[in-house]
Each structure stands twice: as structure tokens, then as C-alpha cells.
Amino acid sequence: MNAEGSGKRKWQDRLRAAFLSLSVLAAGAGTVRAGGVAWAAEPIKLGLVGPLSGDAATFGNSVVNAVKLYFDEVNAKGGIHGQKVEIIALDDRGDPAEAANAVQRLITRDKVTAIIGAVTSGPMKAAAPIANRAGVPILSPTATAAGITDIGPYVFRACFVDDFQGEVMASFARHNLKFSRVAVLYKVTDAYSAGLAASFQNAFKQAGGTVVLVQTFGQNDQDFTAQLTRIKQANPEAIYTPVYYTDAGLIAKQARQLGINVPLLGPDGFDSPKLIEIGGQAVVGSYFTNHYSSKDNDPVAVDFDKKYTARYGAHPDALAALAWDGAAMMAYGLEKAGTDRKALRDALASIKSFHGVTGTITMDAHRNPIKNALILQVTADGGHRIVTRVQP
């Protein structure tokens, strides 16, 4: 191509761009002139991102179920300020890169007002900066890793932070179970797992306990026998293993196969019906920290349990409960501030004494909720019992 030709092409491009922007302006003006009626019929679009397939699939599906349940109820009552809420749910497969793509798509193509998600911490760390840069409020119901909300002023969550979860389990192991020797096994490639392992170790040592051995594993590992054999030699009273249910089930099973019979201690990642399916009897008796229990007798929680069970035929897990609270917080923000993203952000940041199904929520200065934690124990029927409740 010669220079003249490309010069011509440039001119055409410029002209086309000018026409395009004019027509966009005209269209925009048209909508404004059409007035309140056209605006009111327009739904509020909310994005939803989570792992609908892969290793954490039950998490993503619980979140989607609860958020849909919540907004179907809102829509049935006439929506928010007369506008229906439309949910656009995308699958991130638990992969940070996929989560970043999904959030990008929600913002640029679907033009959502705000986003609920991501569900797990790794993807949230990749997704949140994109939303924050675009000035779109993003609220993860369930990403517990430290530092998530420090990404920026538009980033929120509905769950407590891992540091707190690790500290609660350390204190429970030391003071309630009276353990002094604990081993730690965590997934070194996962921010959630590494963060919990660190906070547990610090708190357990401070409480006067000894961490006898720390072992790690990587992404997609299924063979934990080498690590567990070492742990067995160290002879701990319990193993703290801050991982999700799939890994937890495998670890429990392989530990029993090697003749390790001490209990596993875990985080909220243990909360899935798949835990017992994969781990079988090996996981029974394990303790884990959690946000919520379907056995809670708080009236708000009981009401939620009833609605969820009626629609999905199973009790909600903590992920569903947190997603319900996340959706409720988002609805509260939209109710108070409308669809202006800046105003919505301010409304979310100022949430105080909000009575959700996972407890009473107040946002701190870093947009993390302050609320209590539960310690649960896995029972032989695959369910759990509430052992104790810990205040922050």
C-alpha cells in the first residue's frame, strides 16, 4: 500500500468516527427526552461472577442460587424504585484470568451498574482492580483473603477476613481443644490457603502452641502422601489444612490411609456437601470455621433457610448465606443511592448494623464487615453441628 492510500484511509476513518459519535449523542439525547417512562422500564443490570464449573463449582452455584433467589423476590415485589433487577451470571472456573475476562465483559459489553463476585480469593484479586479502575462497585460475598478490599475504594465484601478466621481456629485449637502441637498443610499456589496458613501459625504460636511442621502442595496436586508421611513422623495432635473441600477430602482420605488419625482443622472452604462425598468417613470429626450454619436459630436465618430449601431442595451452605447477604447489601445500596455508581459506592461503605443471615454486619474503614464466626464439626451423616460462636 502506498502513502497516499493510507492517508485517504485515515481521513475516512476520522469522518466515520465523527459520524459515529454524533449519532451516539443523538441517541443519548433521544433517550433523555423520552423521559421517565423509558428509564423506568430499563432494568438495573448486575453482574455475577463465580466458579460454575471446576474444583470450586459448588461454591459458585450456591452463590448464583442465592443471588437469584434474592432478586427474584425483589422483582416480584416490584423491583427497586420501580426498576427490575437483571442478573448476568458468568463462569470464571475458579481461574483468575477467566475472572478478569468476565468482569471486563460485564463492564464494557453488558454495562452493568455493579458486580457481585468473584467467589474465591484468587479470581477476586484479578477481577477487582478492573472494576475499581472503571469505577464499578464490586462486592465479593465470599473472598476472604487479606488485602482484597485494599485494592481500591470500589471493592467490598460480605464475609470476614482470613486473618480473623485463622485466629479463631488457632484460639479454638489451643484453648478449647487444648492442643499444643499442630502441623500445617497448605496449597502454596493459592492466596487464600497461604494467607490462612500464615495467620493461623502466628496466632497459634502467640497462644503458646507449637507448629511442629509446615508442608505445602501445588496446583492440581492429588498426591499428598509424601507430605502426610512427613507430618506423621512429626506426630501432631491435629493438622490445620486451609484448603477447599476437594483437596480437603483427598487429604483426609490419604491421611487415614497412612494411619494418621488426628482431626483435621479447616476454614470455610470445607463447607460443601462434596466434602463427605470425596472424603467419606475420613473427614468426620473435622472442625472448621464458618460464616453461617443452616442450624442457626436466628429468625432471619431460619426464614432464609426455609425459602432456599423450598426452591432448591437442599439446605443453604455458608456460600449461599453470604451471597444472600451480599445481594441484600447491594439492594440496600441501590435502594438508598440509585444507580449512580459513586453514590452506590458511598452507600455500601456506610452500611451499619445490617441484620443479615450471617450475623450483624458493620463495614469498617477498609470496607470489610465486622461480624462473628462459627466453629462447626463434621458429623457422620455428612452434616455438621455448631460447636461454638466466636465474637470478633
Binding site: 505445602t216 502422601t225 507430605q227 476437594t246 482420605k253 490411609q257 497412612l258 470425596i278
Partner: protein, 292 residues
């Protein structure tokens, strides 16, 4: 010392599984000079066949294992018939790319048909601990090593003592001459695929039994590592695959136990690079100059 022995046992269990998969790679390579990259996915299908036999039909361990082996054998023969046979006279690179294509097809078909969520493999063998002095061995590890050993002995017998085994060796030596001697080369190749796939399926069922979890992408990593094991032992050599598999398994467990888990996958591929640089014909291979 006790811990070291314990880790050796862990390594041998894992290594037996690599060895079983590696055998399929090496047999196909010996005959067709083809790296069958779909082999790891045949192993996955075998694991799922065992899963359905056990979870749906409630078969016990041995029937489920045989069912999985038979199913995978049929799949292996079908893959060869549909994807590789039409390319028998094509360039080696064309067949290799086709193998990668078949692998991707099986993986993604697996995601669609079998769902990507990991599944719990039924406890086909009740867990029992066997105590040897200070050592604890569980019966599942024993089952893995035992089944792998039986299958490898059976394979040696088939290859060295039967007519079809003799035909396999003849085809591996020289296809054209074998054909002139009246050997049905296509049948021998089909039989090789059936044999290799059946062994991979056995590995799949054993892994399901040992780890208790299977999913449609489970074949990728073990497939690659078994390939490294086959190269390590000397590709095309059946005893090489066995030795290579065991060495890989033990090496991997030792690295995790005494170095760091982060090095686990790296060590497998470091072995591949070193062996290709230093001794390309493998541990048991003789250096042969390729005829041009």
C-alpha cells in the same frame, strides 16, 4: 530411616501407575514411531469406565477393573482406526498433530459429557493398614503395586511367548518385511493399541482407588509424566517403561518430601531435558544412529 522407607513405598505406588501408562506410549512408539498423546486421555476414560462399573452397576474391584480395561481397549482400537490408520503413510508430524487433536477432543468431550466437576471414586477396596515393624503400608498401595506387577508380567508373557507377541516384535523390527512374511500388520497395530489402552485404564482405576477422585482432565499431567518416564527408560523398550515409571514416581515423591512441593512438576521435565541431552536413547536403550 523409617520415613525414608515410607516415602520409597509412596514413590513405588505412584511409580507403578506411571509405569502402566508409560507402557502404552512405548509399545505404540515401538511399532508406529508415533507418540500417542491421546494416551493420557484413554487413561481418564478408563478411570471413568471403572467409576461407572463400580458406582452404577455396583461391581466389585476385579470386574470393574476388567470392564475398564476392556472399554479402554475398544476406545484405543477405535482411535487408531479412525484417526491414525488413514495417516499411515503420511509424515510423522501429521500423525503427531492428529494425536494432539484426538487428545483435546477427548478432554473437551469429557468436560461436556462427564461434567467438569471432580467425582468421588467408590471405595472398592476396604482400607486396611498393614504393619511391618515401624512401617505402615496400606492395602491400597499393596493392591496398586500387585496389580501393576501382575499386568507387567502378563504383558512380558504376551510379547515374548505368544504368536501375536512375536508378530508385534516383528512389526516393530521392520513393518515391510513383516508384511512380506504374511503378518497382518493392521491387526497387529490394533492389538498393540488395545493392549496399551487396557494398561492405561488399569492405571486409571488404580488412581481412582488410591486418591479417590477423578475428573475429565485428570489425564493431562500423568500422561505427560508417563511420556517422560517412557523416554527416560528408553522409548520403544518395554522394560524401559517399567523402570522409567518407577524412577519417576520415586523421584517425584522424594522431591516433595525432602525439597519442596513447588519443584514436583519441574523435576519431571528436568529429567526429560537431561535425558535428552545426555542419553537420548534412555536408561536401557542402546545408542543407535538413525538411518537416513
Amino acid at each position: 530411616m523409617v520415613e525414608f522407607l515410607q516415602q520409597i513405598i509412596n514413590g513405588l505406588s505412584l511409580g507403578s501407575i506411571y509405569a502402566l501408562i508409560a507402557l502404552g506410549y512405548t509399545m505404540v512408539y515401538g511399532i508406529l514411531k508415533l507418540i500417542n498423546f491421546a494416551h493420557g486421555d484413554v487413561y481418564m476414560v478408563g478411570a471413568f469406565a471403572g467409576y461407572y462399573a463400580a458406582a452404577v452397576f455396583h461391581w466389585s474391584f476385579v470386574p470393574a477393573l476388567l470392564f475398564a480395561m476392556a472399554g479402554a481397549a475398544v476406545l484405543g482400537v477405535a482411535i487408531e482406526r479412525i484417526a491414525y490408520r488413514p495417516l499411515r503413510n503420511a509424515t510423522r508430524i501429521a500423525t503427531l498433530i492428529t494425536a494432539i487433536g484426538v487428545s483435546l477432543l477427548l478432554e473437551n468431550l469429557g468436560i461436556v459429557v462427564l461434567h467438569p466437576e471432580p467425582r468421588a471414586f467408590p471405595d472398592l477396596v476396604q482400607l486396611r493398614m498393614v504393619r511391618l515393624g515401624a512401617l505402615y503400608i496400606n492395602n491400597r498401595q499393596l493392591v496398586i503395586v500387585l496389580v501393576a506387577t501382575i499386568l507387567m508380567i502378563a504383558l512380558q508373557w504376551v510379547v515374548n511367548r505368544t504368536r501375536i507377541g512375536q508378530a508385534m516384535r516383528a512389526v516393530a523390527e521392520d513393518q515391510d518385511t513383516a508384511r512380506l512374511m504374511g503378518i497382518n500388520v493392521d491387526r497387529v497395530i490394533s492389538f498393540t493399541f488395545a493392549l496399551g489402552s487396557a494398561l492405561a485404564a488399569a492405571a486409571g482405576v488404580l488412581v481412582g482407588l488410591y486418591y479417590g477422585r477423578i475428573d475429565p482432565l485428570m489425564g493431562i499431567m500423568p500422561g505427560l509424566k508417563a511420556f517422560v518416564a517412557a523416554v527416560l527408560g528408553g522409548i520403544g523398550l518395554i522394560p524401559g517403561a517399567m523402570v522409567g515409571g518407577l524412577v519417576m514416581g520415586v523421584a517425584e515423591v522424594m522431591v516433595v518430601a525432602f525439597l519442596s512441593s513447588t519443584w514436583k512438576d519441574a523435576v519431571a521435565f528436568a529429567i526429560l531435558i537431561v535425558i535428552l541431552l545426555v542419553r537420548p536413547s534412555g536408561l536401557l536403550g542402546r545408542a543407535v544412529r538413525e538411518k537416513v
